[in-house]
């Protein structure tokens, strides 16, 4: 149900952005699907799936592009102490050739992709809600042009239960 709601939100975001676009001046976007409250017990960890959708006709570099010159997609998160996010697991990129470089494979994300964040709560954490905020940094291209790096805000809440 939550996944369906998230996808519905993503679809709404893109519908709105497409209406606002003029031919030839469309702007790349990567939308973030809202995450429900993440429940973690003191001393526990949780895997949080963060879902993103790249705008139609665009691709972004994966977290490990094949060239150092290319700008990787990176998620930077900040958690309120004592909650921490020690690990982010990025998906592998898809190796794709584009008309502008048919002999070259680029490692990209397009459509939907997810990054898994491991949330850790220490044993001495007090009960309560702890926001985790950050940004997804990405640089998008379509089949003919590239666009300056952009960011998408990311936010979710970790709810620590009482012991």
């Amino acid at each position: 149900m939550k996944v369906a709601q998230a996808l519905l939100v993503l679809a709404s975001v893109f519908a709105a952005s497409m209406i606002a676009q003029e031919p030839g001046t469309h702007v790349p976007s990567v939308a973030f699907a809202p995450v429900g409250r993440v429940q973690v017990k003191p001393g526990g960890t949780a895997n949080v799936q963060l879902d993103f959708r790249v705008g139609p006709d665009f691709h972004v570099n994966s977290n490990h592009p094949h060239s150092e010159l290319l700008i990787p997609t990176q998620l930077k998160l900040t958690a309120v102490q004592p909650v921490s996010v020690p690990t982010l697991k990025y998906p592998a990129g898809e190796d794709v050739s584009f008309p502008f470089a048919p002999d070259e494979k680029l490692s990209v994300y397009s459509g939907d992709f997810s990054i898994n964040a491991v949330v850790k709560v220490p044993l001495n954490a007090k009960a309560g809600d702890y926001p985790v905020t950050g940004e997804l940094h990405f640089q998008a291209c379509d089949r003919r042009a590239c666009y300056p790096p952009r960011t998408t805000p990311v936010k979710f809440t970790v709810s620590v239960a009482s012991k």
């Binding site: 990787p72 502008f100 003919r144 042009a145 666009y147 300056p148």
Partner: protein, 186 residues
């Protein structure tokens, strides 16, 4: 992993400019930028030449496709008065841009872009973006995104076909025949 390629200050709001839409016939804004070898270069330094002004970045894969074409066009039309001028929109170090340009065999001047020149040229948001400027300093065309080589060369020839008004050119000779390409709707 080195994220060397970035864009100039992306958080700022571009300044409003009149240089949007069809630019043909408008005077190309003059600028003064620093070249990779540290020289200050003005667009007006090239008055009397046809200029292909190409905005690019090291992280822009389509830009890499055009660069060998620009190298060829620079060789082919140098004697007729073409100058290709690259404007790198990275905020990375000049030596890294220079190394990249060297590896690409670039034989034309590359200048370090600024937010101001981006604004002056209509807030350059798509790379590659190229402007074709006639010998009199006016736009004859603009190309956004990767174009076919033939389209680029056609624009170059239109820029070269112009004559400087008020110099050795009779006043009734057309200055140029403009052309413009915009990217297709995606």
């Amino acid at each position: 992993m080195v994220a060397s390629g970035k864009y100039l200050n992306r958080a700022r709001q571009p300044r409003a400019t009149s240089l949007v839409g069809d630019v043909r016939g408008k005077v190309a804004p003059d600028f003064e930028l620093t070249s990779l070898d540290g020289k200050r270069v003005k667009l007006s330094d090239y008055r009397g030449k046809a200029v292909l002004l190409n905005f690019w970045a090291t992280w822009c894969s389509p830009c890499k496709v055009e660069m060998p074409w620009f190298v060829d066009l620079q060789k082919k039309y140098a004697d007729e008065g073409l100058v290709v001028v690259g404007v790198a929109m990275d905020d990375t170090d000049a030596p890294k841009i220079a190394q990249f340009a060297s590896e690409m065999g670039v034989n034309y001047p590359v200048l370090l872009g600024t937010d101001k020149v981006s604004d002056d040229y209509g807030s350059v948001q798509f790379l590659p973006t190229s402007f074709y400027i006639d010998r009199d300093g006016k736009f004859v065309g603009k190309g956004v995104g990767l174009l076919a080589r033939k389209e680029i060369e056609d624009n170059v020839q239109k820029a070269l076909a112009s004559r400087v008004v008020g110099a050795n050119t009779p006043a009734n000779v057309p200055v140029s025949k403009p052309a413009v390409q915009q990217p297709e709707a995606q």
